[in-house]
Amino acid sequence: MKRMIPAFGLSAALALTLAACGGDATNETPSTDGGDTTAEEMTDEPVTLTLAGWSLNTTPEFQVLADSFSEAYPNVTVEVAEYGDGDDYDTQMIADLAAGVAPDIYVQKNLKNFFTYADGQQLLDISDVVSGLDPATGGVDFYQMDGTSYAVPYRQDSWLLYYNKDLFAEAGIDEPDGTWTWDDYVETSKALSDELDVKGSYQHSWQSVVQGFALAQSDGAALDSGDYSYLAPFYERSLDLQDAKAQESFGTVTTNSLSYQAQFGTQEAAMLPMGTWYVATLIAQQENGEAEDFEWGMAPIPQVDSSTTGTDATPVTFGDPTGLGINPAIDEDKVAAAKAFLAFAAGEGGADALAGIGITPALLSDTVVDTYFSLDGVPTDELSAFAFSTHDTRPENPVAETTAVVQNILGDAHSAIMSESDSVDDALAEASDRAANEAGIG
C-alpha cells in the first residue's frame, strides 16, 4: 500500500510532463496558418526579433546581418541569441523548440538537420519570400519539401583547391590551370612530394573530403540509392596518395589532431581541397603571423573527367548552404518583419554585408564578387576569381528523411576504409547492408 503512494503521486506529475511533450505541436498549428502575410505588409511599429546564432565572438556574420538589416529597417531591432557550435547548436535548438522557448528566426546550419526541423513542423512556410529572391541565389531549391520552401540560403560555401604558389615554383611544377581531373591532382601531388620535403597535398579527415566530391561528380550517385560503389574510385585515389606518402595518413591526421590551417598555413603541404570559408581565416592568419607568408591561389576543384574542366566549363563541386528559417511559434505580428529579414539576408543587401567580412554569400552577383575581391589579401589572379565565382555546387546532404542515417553509416565506412581496417569493397558493401537494415533503402 505505502509503496504505491509515491508512485501514484508521480503518475500525476508524469501525465503533466507528457501533456507538455505533446502540447507544443497543437499550440503552433494556428500560427502556421497565419503564415501568408507577406513582407510588403510590414508596418512602421517598432518590432524586436530574436535570431539564433553561434559562437558570436568568432562568427560575426549574425551580428553583421542584424545590424545591416536594422540600418535598412530602423523600426526593427534584431537581437542575436548565442548558441553553441558544432552539434551543440542543434542539440540546444531541438531542446528549445521542444520546450517552446526558441528564438523567432533560427539558422539552418547544414542540410542534414533541416529535414528534422521541416518535417517536425518547426519551420514556417516562407515560399512567398523565396519567390521574391534573385534567381541567381545559390541553394534555394535545397530547402524545398513537396514544393514548399521552409528556409532561405544566405551563405553558400563551396569547395575548391587551395595551392601554395611558392612551393610549386620551388618544385618547378606547373600550377593548376583549371583543367585538372582527379588523376592530374594525384600525379601532381606525388610529383610535389618527390621534389620537396613537404607533402604534396593535405586532405582532412572529414568524410566529406572524399564523399562530398564523389556524390556531386559521379553520374547517378545518390545517398538514398543504397548503392555506394560510386565512392570506390575516390577512395582508391585517397588511399593511393596516402600509401605514396604524398599525403599524411588518416591515422596520423586523427591521432595527432592535425589541423588543415596549420598544415597548409605553415607550408607542410602544397595543396589543400577545402571550402571557401578558409579564405578569410588564411588571410587573417597570415596577417597575425600564425600562418607563414607565402603566395597562394585558388583553383577549381579537380573533376572526374575533362567534360567539366577548363575555364569555359562550369566545374562541379559541393557544399551545403547555410539558411534562415522562422520558428512557427513566433508572434503573429512579427511574421512580416521576420520575412523581411529573410528577404534582406538572402538578397543583395545581406550578400554585400557578408562579402565585406570575407564570407561567401549565397547570392554571387558581380558587385558582391567585386566587394569580396577588394578585400586585402584575397588573391587577385584570374583563376582564383574564376574558381571563387564559377561552379555548380551540389548539396553535401540532399534533403531526405534517410540522409542523417545514411551519412552516419557512410561516416563509419569512411573511418574503416581510411584507417585501412577494412577494404574499400567490404566497407561499401557493409554500408549498403546497413542502409537497407537501418534506413529501409535498396
Partner: protein
C-alpha cells in the same frame, strides 16, 4: 603492504633496519615515475598553452614551445570573459556541493538507520535512475525545467545537480558501515533521530563527507552537458561552456583552450590538496564492534 598496515594501525616501524631505507627510496622512486606518467597530459596542456595556435598539433610533437607565448595568459582575460565564467562556476560548485552533501547525507540516514516498509524499493529506484544515461531523458527533464521557469538560470544547474542519487548512495554506504549499536545507545539516552544524524553520524563520516565534497565539487566544476543544455545567456556561462566558445565551426583556438583548461584546473587542484587531509586516521568506533 606491511608498512602500510602498520601505519594505519599507528604502530612503530618493525625493526628491519637494513632494508627499510632502500625500500622507502624504491617506493618513492616508483611513486615519482608513476606521477610523471600520470601528469603527462597535464604537462602537455601547460606546454600547449604557451604555444601559438598552429603549433599545438604538429608532427613530430613539439615538446618545447618556440617562441614561448605568454600572451595567451593575458589574452584569455581580455579576449574572453574568463572572470565571469570562473565566478559562475564557483557559485554553482559551492552551492551544489553544499546542498548535495546536506540533503544526500540526510536522506542516507533514512535509508540506512530507519527501518520502514518500501525503503529498499525506493532506494533501488534511486540507484536505478543512475543506470539511465542522462542524454536519454534530457528532453523530458528540459520540458519540466522550462515549465517551472528555471531554464537559462543558474538555478537549473543547482536543481539538476544538488539532488542526485550519487550522494545518497555514497553516504548510505558509509552510514551502513557505522555500527547500529552507536545509534541504539544514543536512542536509549533519549537523543532524537535528527540529533543522532547531526551529532553522531556526521562527525563519524568526515572522510565520506570529504570525498563526497571533492567529487561533487569536481563534477559540477567540470560539467559540460548540463550547462550546455540549460544555459544560453553568455553571462551565465561556466568555464567548460566558455572554453567551448574558442571552437569555431571550421577551426579552434587550441592554445587558448589549453590556457583556459590549465587555469580551470588550478582551483580544483588546490581544493583537492587542502580537502584530502580530512582522510585522517580511523574513526572512533573503538570497542563498539567487539
Amino acid at each position: 603492504m606491511a608498512a602500510d598496515v602498520t601505519a594505519v594501525a599507528g604502530y612503530r616501524q618493525p625493526p628491519r633496519k637494513l632494508s627499510d631505507p632502500v625500500k622507502r627510496a624504491l617506493g618513492y622512486g616508483a611513486l615519482i615515475v608513476a606521477s610523471a606518467l600520470i601528469m603527462l597530459p597535464f604537462v602537455w596542456m601547460i606546454i600547449s598553452s604557451l604555444k601559438t595556435n598552429n603549433q599545438v598539433f604538429t608532427i613530430p610533437v613539439q615538446w618545447i614551445p618556440d617562441p614561448v607565448v605568454w600572451r595567451n595568459y593575458l589574452d584569455i582575460w581580455t579576449a574572453a570573459d574568463m572572470s565571469t565564467w570562473l565566478q559562475n562556476t564557483l557559485v554553482l560548485s559551492v552551492t551544489v556541493t553544499f546542498l548535495q552533501v546536506l540533503t544526500g547525507s540526510f536522506a542516507a540516514y533514512g535509508f540506512s538507520k530507519v527501518v520502514f516498509p518500501g525503503r529498499d524499493v525506493l532506494f533501488l529506484a534511486y540507484v536505478g535512475t543512475m543506470a539511465v544515461p542522462w542524454q536519454a531523458y534530457m528532453i523530458p527533464q528540459f520540458i519540466i525545467m522550462s515549465n517551472i521557469g528555471l531554464n537559462n538560470t543558474l538555478w537549473a544547474i543547482i536543481a539538476l545537480q544538488a539532488f542526485g542519487a550519487f550522494a545518497v548512495f555514497l553516504m548510505r554506504q558509509y552510514f551502513v558501515s557505522i555500527p547500529d549499536s552507536l545509534c541504539e545507545a544514543a536512542r536509549i539516552d533519549g537523543m532524537s533521530e535528527y540529533g543522532i544524524w547531526w551529532r553522531i553520524m556526521m562527525p563519524l563520516s568526515v572522510p565520506a563527507i570529504a570525498s563526497l565534497t571533492l567529487l561533487t565539487f569536481v563534477n559540477t566544476w567540470n560539467d559540460y552537458l548540463g550547462p550546455l543544455i540549460y544555459l544560453r545567456s553568455p553571462e551565465l556561462r561556466t568555464i567548460q561552456l566558455g572554453l567551448q566558445t574558442f571552437i569555431g565551426q571550421y577551426d579552434a583556438e587550441h592554445a587558448l583552450i589549453m590556457t583556459g583548461s590549465v587555469l580551470s584546473i588550478i582551483p580544483v587542484a588546490v581544493i583537492f590538496l587542502l580537502g584530502q587531509r580530512f582522510f585522517v586516521e580511523g574513526i572512533a568506533t573503538t570497542g563498539v564492534k567487539g
